[in-house]
């Protein structure tokens, strides 16, 4: 196995830090396993394959969102952030402010427990839990908000510990590596998001405890928080691509560290101001604000696209120095038998699909066609499952053996899980997005409406259910293989994963067209999906004007 930054750095950590990281990853895998079970139950119920009834069905739907979106993605991010901060800094010195990191995971675990209690202690509120829906104060409602606040406080502690850890090399007169710099930007956005969580959930907790009135601006505070929560995992994903590609191929950016640092820093500038597009259907939003919101939202993809380009251009230029021929011949030379490479490859393809679909939703004129429909889960599973989750799991494929000193079981199986998950995702996403175009609502268990809904709605939900099952199998096997590695079972170091070493030389006069062509394909997909939506909207037998609200 490689002995570069990620792997050698994690392996060199002090034992106390390794134990802490194992706790983060065990919690992450536990949340993922539970969330996948909740998700499978929801998909099967929506498909009509099982009848859970409204209480269990909406609990499963709530549990899926809470465990995946809040706990899997954030336990994993917290652990990976600490791992990168230490591995690319001074790994033998370990985490700075280790007690703070330990308090962080304690708070996050307490938050998880509180959220699970809230899920089964009261009415299902879905993961956004608006206080107006809860209507009455109760211990379960208070636990819902307290859980999220504990999670946020824990994340803040972990992010602070990560920043402190990255500062160690600076004290010795060294400069930050790209990974360290990007980790600080990531930690900074985590801290901002944790503060946003306090503004969203603090007043709600006070109300639930009988210490305040019901907040009137919960919806806006939620959307601002939720928007940052969308992009944090995506920022983490492209950073992990950056370091994993170096691990898998030895390739560093040919555009220089400063360019990469500017790109990662641009997340801080471009992500927070673009939250408006989640609110286009809100009756209170003025038309000029909607227009500005659409324009700003166009910039949201720029940092992610730039990191993708840096990676692909660097890979292609190095591969050409190794003798790659043809426009795409270099792609075949990548170590596809490596499970992490397989996961990153499918993650990039899924990002293109999910990203292109998401750009239909940033056009405010299309919100009355698609917002609040199954288009939303249809596209975002390409991102949450197909891009972010596959990438986090790819990172764990490398980080866990470095932590435990034990090889993963079933490396051959791991290589095939990304295509299996993507197959499920394509079924789920294609049927889901089509259902969204047809108006199928999200967050509804039974879409028959006593026979008044189009028959196609039920058929599409059945396909969604089948796709969901395939994703469940793929992610369930991932969790099993990775969780077994955390158990103290006897297992040797194992065979090395296939890798290539292209880092030595780069072809100066090499053409690198794959990246720009990929962006052209991405733009073409955006155009196709947007044209489809505009034309469908024009064809509806309804002319509509306005949508303004008054108080």
């Amino acid at each position: 196995m490689s002995q570069n930054g990620l792997v050698s750095g994690v392996a060199a950590l002090p034992e106390a830090d390794k134990r802490l990281l194992k706790l983060f990853f065990a919690a992450a895998l536990g949340a993922l396993g539970l969330g996948v079970l909740f998700g499978a139950s929801t998909a099967l119920a929506r498909a009509g394959f099982v009848d859970l009834g409204p209480l269990a069905g909406y609990r499963a739907m709530s549990g899926h969102g809470v465990t995946i979106f809040f706990y899997w993605l954030y336990f994993a991010q917290a652990g990976l952030l600490l791992a990168l901060a230490a591995a690319y800094g001074a790994p033998r010195a370990g985490f700075a402010l280790r007690p703070l990191a330990a308090i962080g995971i304690g708070l996050m675990a307490a938050g998880f427990a509180a959220s699970l209690y809230a899920l089964y202690g009261g009415m299902p509120l879905l993961y956004d839990a608006p206080p107006e829906l809860a209507r009455e104060r109760s211990a379960a409602v208070a636990a819902f908000y307290a859980g999220y606040l504990a999670l946020s406080a824990g994340l803040f502690c972990v992010a602070a510990a990560a920043v402190a850890t990255t500062l160690r090399p600076l004290g010795r007169g060294e400069s930050w590596s790209v990974a360290s710099f990007a980790s600080v930007a990531w930690a900074g956005l985590l801290m901002v998001t944790a503060i946003a969580a306090f503004t969203a959930f603090g007043p709600s907790l006070m109300w639930a405890l009988g210490l305040g009135t019901m907040p009137t601006n919960y919806s806006t505070a939620w959307h601002v928080l939720f928007h940052n929560m969308h992009y944090l995992p995506l920022m983490a994903t492209v950073l992990l691509w950056y370091v994993l590609i170096e691990t898998l191929t030895g390739v560093k950016s040919i555009l220089g560290a400063r360019f990469s640092k500017i790109v990662f820093a641009s997340y801080l500038i471009l992500v927070p101001p673009t939250s408006l597009y989640h609110m286009f259907l809100e009756p209170d939003l003025a038309e000029p604000v909607r227009v500005v919101g659409s324009l700003l939202s166009l910039f949201i993809s720029v940092p992610t696209v730039l990191v993708f380009l840096v990676i692909v251009v660097s890979l292609e230029a190095h591969a050409r120095a190794q003798g790659a021929r043809g426009l795409f011949g270099w792609i075949r030379m990548l170590p596809w038998r490596n499970p992490a490479m397989s996961a990153i490859g499918f993650a990039a393809a899924n990002l293109a699909l999910g990203g292109a679909l998401s750009f239909v939703l940033i056009q405010e004129k299309l919100a009355p066609l698609l917002s609040d429909t199954f288009f939303v889960p249809g596209y975002f599973h390409f991102l949450t499952v197909g891009t972010v989750t596959l990438t986090f799991l790819a990172a764990l494929v490398y980080a866990l053996p470095a932590l435990t000193g034990r090889a993963l079981g079933q490396p051959g199986l791991l290589r095939w899980l990304p295509p299996l998950a993507t197959l499920g995702l394509v079924l789920f996403g294609t049927a889901g997005v089509t259902a969204g175009y047809l108006g199928v609502p999200r967050r509804v268990l039974d879409v028959s409406y006593a026979g008044d809904a189009p028959a196609a709605w039920g058929t599409l939900m059945s396909i969604v259910g089948v796709g969901g099952l395939l994703m469940t199998v793929a992610l369930g096997l991932y969790v099993l293989v990775l969780a077994l590695n955390l158990l103290p079972l006897k297992r040797g170091a194992g065979a090395a994963y296939p890798e290539v070493r292209w880092g030595g030389e780069v072809a100066l006069d090499a053409r690198a067209w794959t990246g720009p062509l990929a962006i052209a394909v991405l733009l073409a997909l955006m155009v196709v999906f947007s044209v489809g939506a505009f034309e469908l909207m024009k064809a509806l037998p309804l002319e509509a004007i306005g949508g303004a609200a008054h108080h």
């Binding site: 829906l133 004129k365 919100a367 008044d452 690198a512 962006i519 509806l540």
Partner: protein, 201 residues
């Protein structure tokens, strides 16, 4: 054969092919902004500063006409009273509500959304007649979305916010009205109906 150089010293960028230069890569990263021209082509975004896009995705224009609208700032109780009066005034023997069309501007329609239904539950309207829908959620947030065959008009209502939309149905048919914001366990059963008939002479 390509010239190669150790990556530790990749050399001046002028030696590189333009596809591997920072300026080209940076500019390409902004390529997706090209989608804006599609939006402008559909009238969904201004092409030049000061030129507003169309007010709606399918050819509408801003504002609304008509008369007798509910007053901005009205409370949920006041809106419920208006909505109840509307239902009472135009109730049909089959329980549906059919507002009369006097031919002067858009016809006012009041639609209340509540746990877990709509008032009126069944509306009878005419094709080709503009209706000024005035809608409000009376307890928690609801949807009052309309299924139109090949797609839907998604409408989100927040409690206490009066939402106005001028809607003209182009074709007769029965259209499902359904809630698209989760509002509790019976959310799936929250539905209504709009029956659109041929315009009477």
């Amino acid at each position: 054969m390509s010239k190669t150089r150790a990556i530790a010293a990749p050399g001046p960028t002028s030696e590189r092919h333009f596809t591997t230069r920072r300026a080209f890569v940076g500019a390409t990263g902004f390529g997706v902004l090209g989608l804006y021209f599609l939006w402008a082509g559909y009238g969904a975004a201004p092409l030049f500063p000061g030129h507003g896009g169309e007010a709606d995705g399918h050819g509408g224009h801003g504002g609304h006409g008509g008369h007798g609208a509910a007053e901005p700032g009205m409370s949920m109780a006041e809106f419920k009273e208006l909505s109840d009066d509307f239902v009472k005034a135009y109730a049909q023997p089959d329980g549906s509500v059919r507002p009369s069309n006097d031919g002067h501007g858009p016809v006012d329609v009041y639609l209340s959304a509540f746990l877990w239904g709509y008032a009126p539950a069944v509306l009878r309207l005419e094709a080709g007649t503009p209706y000024r829908f005035q809608m409000m959620a009376l307890d928690v947030a609801h949807g009052a979305s309309i299924q139109l065959g090949s797609g839907s008009r998604i409408i989100r209502l927040r409690p206490g916010s009066l939402v106005e939309q001028e809607l003209t149905f182009q074709a007769p048919g029965e259209y499902l009205v359904y809630c698209t914001i989760y509002c509790g366990l019976p959310h799936d059963r929250m539905q209504g109906k709009i029956i659109v008939e041929e315009r009477r002479a």
